[in-house]
């Protein structure tokens, strides 16, 4: 592992950050806004903020306000998103050609495996879960009429466990340039033993040794040679798991006991329902992963045999991991479905079609999600009778997902559709989720899975869900609630550009992967120049190039988004009380009522210089947003 390679990567990251920064600053001198001084304009609540919070950086370190903590979660998740995204860009550039070239000087295949691991872990644990916590922290108390979360201090603790968790998870990358015995983990995000128990910093197997030119397997582990980066990653993962569990406990207590007197269970909004279900899933799955991680750590460092052949073996690990891992999929997808169910009706001019059934399907998914885990293990040689049972439940879980999809489509049917940026992302969500979902139904069938297992088909399938659906819903939420959080409106043109680049990029990248999978391209490979079959190498190369181009388009789109967010937050037009004209359609919502009240209270208190004419400035740009749907 070359020191120069690590430095080159750091340099590349730095350059990208600088480019974004330069682009953002070109628009204006943003220092005039001094976001962290004097009570903080960043939260957009200077009107009364300084009464209850200290100023400056101390405000952010000490805050127990759910809205501030939501913003902290959001910023944290975006940093993680950038890390995971840049990691995968390097991988995509490597895969554009069959041979090892782009990463050759940085550590080759071992480095590719490190990027692969970091990308998966970062996107799932450090981006996915926290970005959803950002939304739920900010909006659940507003939506259910609570003053704050049930446990505001636990809320803050849960957030502050995350940055150290990320540092531990990434620590292998930071320490590798300085020490020989450590590298970033190369276990992939699933961390299967025996690999995860016995991998050295060079990516070799600490359980085998070479003798007379032959590799001999052994039951001994050379513990001193094990990659300490994996240990640090496991510790960091455990820490983020503790954080997620604390958050889940907090949301359950909040939604159960802090609802306003006029918010009965029958009045609970769809987003809160999905967060409640998600929290229940977290509650029973994350601690189990935590225990499995501790067992792995003990196996690695204290010579216990939990996942050794003599003990439970690797199949036990897979059972434990996927008993967490599959609910984790729904932990990540249910709140985005809630955001879609919440936002889509506002721009369709209709109430959500079949609200009750959307709630029931959420609960059904929550229950069924604990009964499908072994479909990740169809190819592991488990009992065929077991496989048949899990196949049935896995196929069954498609039904509640389809119920939701049809409800969204029927909500839009004959509706007064306004193609605003959040609405575009909602529709993009549905389109991508259908592809991601249908490819998943095929994988749930044992015979099909045995052919497509561990190919790019699987990668394409779950990225259609994770990027095509979950990230799309996140963006829909970001754009929809941006006026509340920042008090300003984003740039609509950039928003649309972001949507189209993301939509095109997603489909280019991940549809190519589905075709790659049909061709038999295995996942997790850094190179494919070993393929000798006539014609197939060209097929692989072409599709990989298409996927890489798509990924690059995605990168451009996300930079546009970041610029838009930063610039609009600092100097976008200040919005009025009802930026989306929800009242007109008879679809008011509690969080925008709260937003309107806040503007009123601020004005009554004497206002603030930055918001000279919030009332007149507000409706305008949003009305203009309707033009996009001129043909309605």
């Amino acid at each position: 592992m070359g020191l120069s390679g690590e430095l080159a990567l750091t340099l590349l990251t730095g350059v990208l950050v600088l480019i974004v920064f330069a682009l953002a600053t070109r628009f204006d001198d943003w220092r005039t806004y001094t976001p962290l001084a004097g009570g903080g304009a960043l939260g957009g609540e200077t009107g009364y903020g300084h009464d209850e919070k200290p100023g400056g950086i101390v405000r952010w370190l000490t805050t127990v306000d759910h809205k501030d903590i939501g913003i902290l979660y959001g910023v944290y998740a975006i940093v993680a998103f950038a890390w995971g995204g840049l990691a995968v860009m390097l991988m995509r550039f490597e895969l554009a050609t069959p041979a090892m070239d782009v990463l050759a000087s940085v550590g080759g295949r071992a480095f590719y495996n490190q990027l692969l691991t970091s990308h998966g872990i970062t996107m799932l644990f450090l981006f996915g879960t926290p970005i959803l916590a950002a939304f739920s922290n900010y909006f659940i108390p507003l939506l259910i009429g609570a003053d704050d979360m049930a446990f505001p201090r636990i809320n803050a603790i849960a957030f502050w466990l995350l940055p150290p968790g990320a540092i531990l998870i990434w620590a292998g990358f930071f320490l590798a340039p300085f020490f020989d015995g450590i590298a970033a983990s190369m276990t992939s995000w699933t961390m299967y033993p025996p690999q995860a128990v016995a991998q050295t910093a060079a990516g070799q197997d600490a359980m085998s040794y070479e003798y007379a030119g032959r590799v001999i397997a052994s039951s001994e582990i050379d513990t001193a040679a094990l990659n300490a980066g994996t240990d640090l990653m496991l510790l960091g993962l455990h820490l983020t798991g503790v954080s997620a569990t604390m958050g889940a406990i907090n949301f359950i207590a909040t939604i159960f006991t802090e609802r306003g007197s006029d918010v009965g269970w029958d009045k609970l909004d769809i987003f809160s329902w999905t967060i409640l279900t998600q929290s229940a899933l977290i509650l029973f799955s994350f601690p189990l992963l935590g225990s499995a991680i501790v067992m792995l750590l003990l196996d690695r460092n204290f010579a216990t045999g939990f996942f050794a052949v003599e003990g439970g073996g690797t199949i036990l690990y897979q059972h434990l991991f996927w008993f967490f891992g599959h609910p984790e999929v729904y932990i990540l997808v249910l709140p985005p479905m809630g955001i879609i169910s919440y936002v889509l009706p506002r721009f369709s001019g209709r109430k959500l079609f079949g609200f009750k059934f959307v709630v029931y399907s959420t609960l059904a998914i929550g229950v069924l999600s604990f009964g499908v885990w072994a479909h990740h293990m169809f190819a592991s040689g488990i009992d065929p009778r077991l496989r048949a049972g899990f196949m049935a439940v896995s196929l069954a879980i498609a039904i509640p997902s389809a119920v939701k999809t049809f409800n969204w489509i029927t909500t839009m049917w004959n509706g007064n559709i306004r193609l605003t940026t959040p609405m575009l992302f909602c529709i993009g969500f549905i389109a991508n989720f259908i592809i991601g979902g249908v490819t998943g139904v095929f994988l749930a069938a044992v015979p099909v899975d045995l052919i497509l297992h561990d190919t790019y088909y699987v990668v394409g399938h779950f990225h259609y869900v994770i990027m095509g659906a979950i990230a799309f819903a996140v963006f829909a939420g970001v754009y929809y609630w941006f006026p509340i959080v920042s008090g300003r409106m984003y740039q609509r043109t950039l928003g649309k550009a972001h949507f189209w680049t993301t939509m095109v990029g997603t489909n280019l990248t991940f549809f190519a992967m589905i075709l790659l999978g049909y061709g038999g391209m295995p996942r997790r490979y850094a190179t494919y120049n070993g393929v000798t079959a006539e014609g197939i190498i060209g097929y692989f190369t072409n599709l990989h190039v298409i996927a890489t181009v798509g990924a690059f388009i995605l990168l451009v789109g996300q930079i546009i988004w970041l610029v838009n967010m930063v610039q609009s937050w600092l100097e976008g037009p200040v919005v009025g009380p009802d930026p989306w004209n929800l009242k007109e359609d008879g679809l008011p919502s509690r969080e925008f009522d709260w937003h309107a009240d806040r503007i009123e209270t601020t004005l009554a208190d004497g206002g603030e210089p930055a918001e000279d004419e919030p009332m007149t400035d507000g409706g305008e740009p949003v009305d203009a947003d309707d033009d996009a749907a001129g043909d309605e």
Partner: protein, 292 residues
């Protein structure tokens, strides 16, 4: 509209979460979460340093790892105590009793116990997994000490229950006495467990693995299950004893009344949960492994 009241209340500080806190004077600021989180994370960093020190070659000694760990544990405990003090203890009698704030604490405890089920279940699943494949030769773990400890823990749950009943009936003296008795029984239980560990590890040489001359021998997969589950349970009993200890001290200082006893209730819930887990554990590990 309640949203209006919500926004209005912030102006008057009626429902601010951290009125009584450090730094004082703000309603929505507290240093305790940050301090606690840094302390808690520091424990993980300490563990990481310990592993790095054990590997060698990182220029980190066991001393550094120990110092970071101990410092972090101190910071963590300091943060928790500060939070407890400002959140619950300092203005105990001034705060309005509200059904809502009580039920949220109880729900929070129920949710936490749900997550604990998941934590324990991984260990139980490991045990049942290896049991299905045959445990092989295992030492006789079931004995008079286990029976004594089990009866003691079950009895402590009853004593704790009667302590709660006494508080609800307004009999403070009986409440504090019985609570103290529960605490004592818990401590004796932990002592019994420590003695059992000593007996098994040092005398009977019943270990999950042995490292002889650099070679690792997986002597007994059952031992891994045994120590993982009893160890995890022991940690939980210890935490339960700490919780009861806090409640006990607060009780001695005159807090709690027939109407205000939510933290007695949540600590008791936790204690009963740990008790139930122990019964499962005895049935599965101690009796199940040897008798079946």
């Amino acid at each position: 509209m309640s949203a209006t009241e919500d926004a209005g209340d912030h102006g008057h500080g009626g429902h601010l979460p951290a009125v009584e806190d450090f730094p004082r004077g703000f309603g929505e600021a507290s240093w305790w979460p940050f301090v606690t989180a840094i302390g808690g994370s520091g424990i993980y960093v300490g563990a990481a340093l310990f592993l790095l020190a054990a590997r060698g070659g990182f220029g980190i000694g066991m001393g550094t790892a120990a110092a970071v760990s101990i410092g972090s544990i101190g910071l963590f405990v300091f943060g928790i105590l500060g939070w407890l003090y400002h959140g619950f203890v300092a203005s105990f009698w001034q705060r309005h009793k509200s059904e809502q704030s009580e039920s949220k604490l109880v729900w929070g405890m129920y949710a936490f116990l749900g997550s604990e089920i998941a934590t324990f279940s991984a260990g139980f699943i490991y045990f049942f997994f290896i049991q299905a494949g045959g445990l092989g030769e295992i030492p006789d773990v079931f004995g008079s000490l286990v029976i004594f400890n089990t009866l003691l823990l079950i009895a402590s749950s009853f004593v704790l229950h009667f302590s709660e009943v006494a508080l609800r009936n307004g009999n403070r003296k009986r409440f504090v006495t019985l609570l103290g008795a529960t605490l004592l029984m818990g401590i004796i239980f932990i002592g019994g467990q420590v003695y059992e560990y000593y007996e098994f590890l040092a005398v009977k040489n019943f270990t999950p693995a042995a490292i002889a001359g650099g070679e690792v021998i997986y002597s007994n997969p059952f031992a891994s299950a045994f120590y993982a589950l009893t160890g995890l349970h022991g940690l939980h009993v210890t935490l339960g004893a700490v919780l009861l200890g806090i409640v006990f001290v607060r009780g001695l200082r005159g807090q709690y009344s027939a109407e205000r006893h939510v933290s007695v209730k949540t600590a008791a819930l936790y204690w009963h949960f740990v008790d139930v887990v122990w019964i499962f554990l005895v049935a599965a590990i101690y009796i199940g492994a040897t008798a079946l």
